[in-house]
């Protein structure tokens, strides 16, 4: 009997040992599962969002930089271009430092091969009591530019005085685009009740559609961005229906006073310099400007590398 019970004990001990080993394996597996849960609960990497954010920020800020330099009315294109390029360099150094604190490398590639700056002209009138006539005051209907395409004109902003506008849209001041077969006209007029309204006509003025209005003594209409006093104006769709290069003209310039700015790419489109003063004056004039800038930006975080070309031309339609 003593032999038998010793045999039994051996079998049980052996089984117990095997079960114990199995339990250890089980614990290890559960540990793996816990590690997984931990991995799952770690926040997802946000670098992708930050990279897109960086791109947007650079485009917005460099756009403001370009417009700011253009508005300073430099005497020559070389001056404005040099200032823009220097400005981008300084801006790049500042953003690179601020992103570096978060462990991210960013830079704007400014090597000659990566950066292109397009020459342009800023046509503007800064005398807010002047009518929208040509430089000599001889013409009410006059041309600003011809051979213009949608990526050659930007930031077309008119600020008009409500009191000096025509009542109703017939004979009202309008901006007329003509590509030879189709036209697009935006009328700016006094709607009554001290409201400034914008109407669009696609058939040469035979029928007009009011797209938006605003009540203000002075209203800013951004024709290329499609806004009025900063608010979106959905029907104001620049050059809608035009298919080829077009001319940009003012009609009934006598029926509105105010200021305006428009930046045109003069390497592609041609500006009607006979209607404009060539230096800053109290009439309507033209100054050298940068139309757009294209360059590469690089964003490198520990988990992401992103390099992309960007083109900066704020307020393009």
């Amino acid at each position: 009997m003593a032999d038998v019970s010793r045999d039994r004990g051996q079998l049980i001990i052996l089984t117990g040992l095997i079960v114990a080993v199995t339990m250890v394996a089980l614990v290890l597996l559960l540990n793996t599962a816990i590690y997984t849960e931990n991995l799952a609960s770690r926040g997802a990497d946000q670098s992708g969002r930050e990279a897109m954010e960086y791109r947007t920020v650079v485009v917005d800020d460099v756009g403001e930089l370009i417009d700011e330099e253009n508005a300073r009315e430099h005497g020559s294109y070389t001056d404005v271009r040099t200032n823009v390029e220097d400005g981008i360099e300084v801006y790049d150094n500042l953003t690179a430092k601020s992103y570096a604190t978060g462990g991210t490398i960013t830079y704007v590639n400014q090597s000659a091969s990566a950066m292109t700056v397009t020459r342009g002209k800023l046509v503007r009138q800064t005398n807010s009591s002047r009518r929208f006539r040509n430089e000599s005051e001889a013409l009410n209907d006059w041309r600003l530019a011809s051979g213009v395409n949608d990526d050659e004109i930007r930031d077309f902003r008119l600020t008009v005085n409500q009191g000096d506008l025509n009542s109703g849209d017939s004979f009202a001041f309008n901006v007329r685009l003509d590509d030879g077969s189709n036209t697009w006209q935006a009328y700016v007029y006094d709607k009554g009740g001290s409201e400034v309204a914008v109407s669009i006509s696609l058939d040469g003025g035979a029928s007009t559609t009011e797209v938006c209005s605003v009540s203000a003594p002075e209203a800013t209409v951004d024709l290329t961005r499609g806004t009025i006093e900063g608010e979106p104006c959905p029907g104001l769709d620049w050059a809608e229906g035009l298919t080829s290069d077009y001319t940009v003209e003012y009609r009934h310039g006598e029926n509105a006073t105010g200021t305006f700015n428009v930046t045109i790419d003069d390497t592609e489109a041609s500006i009607e310099s006979s209607n404009l003063d060539s230096t800053p004056s109290s009439a309507v004039y033209v100054v050298p400007a940068v139309y757009s800038a294209s360059f590469n930006i690089v964003f490198e975080s520990p988990s992401l590398t992103y390099e992309t070309p960007v083109r900066v031309a704020p307020g393009e339609p």
Binding site: V4, D7, R8, L11, I12, L14, T15, I18, V19, T22, M23, A25, L26, L29, L30, T32, A33, Y35, T36, E37, L39, A40, A44, D45, S47, G48, R49, A51, M52, R55, N296, P302, S303, L304, T305, Y306, E307, T308, P309
Partner: protein, 147 residues
């Protein structure tokens, strides 16, 4: 005298047989339990890894839509799940990330939505990168690579 009529040998054999039967049952059950746990741990871990790869793929997809010249998104993941090596593959036709460990039946598929083209590709598990191949070119596509 309860063991009268039963020989010592029969008693011995019976005891041994019953004990062995019970022990085998116990071992079999625990073995199966471990096997089950192992499968489910592998599955849940691969699902987590797959979701992370999918989230990186989505990030790469969004970035690739902006016309870049280079996109590389890295994902941190363990090299082994439940002690097994595995592969991560992109299946463009079914829009799935397929994670397959060696030596098991377990396969985990994570679906995704994409705008950019995806290239059928695979990499061995651990940290993988999602790379935009041929940016701007005719063969532009996102693929997975070992990093």
């Amino acid at each position: 005298m309860s063991d009268r009529g039963v020989s010592i040998s029969v008693n011995y054999v019976l005891t041994l047989a019953i004990t062995t039967l019970l022990m085998t049952g116990l071992l079999f059950a625990t073995g199966n339990l471990v096997e089950d746990r192992r499968d489910s741990a592998t599955r849940s871990e691969l699902r987590v890894v797959g979701e992370r790869v999918a989230s990186s793929l989505m990030a790469a997809d969004r970035l690739a839509q902006s016309g870049p010249t280079s996109v590389v998104v890295d994902t941190d993941a363990p090299e082994r799940v439940a002690g097994l090596q595995y592969t991560v593959s992109l299946n463009a036709t079914n829009q799935q990330i397929v994670l397959e460990p060696a030596n098991t039946e377990v396969v985990v598929r994570i679906p995704f939505e994409n705008q950019t083209a995806i290239a059928d590709s695979s990499a061995s598990g651990g940290s993988v990168s999602l790379v935009l191949r041929d940016p701007g070119g005719p063969n532009e596509a996102l693929e997975v690579r070992s990093s």
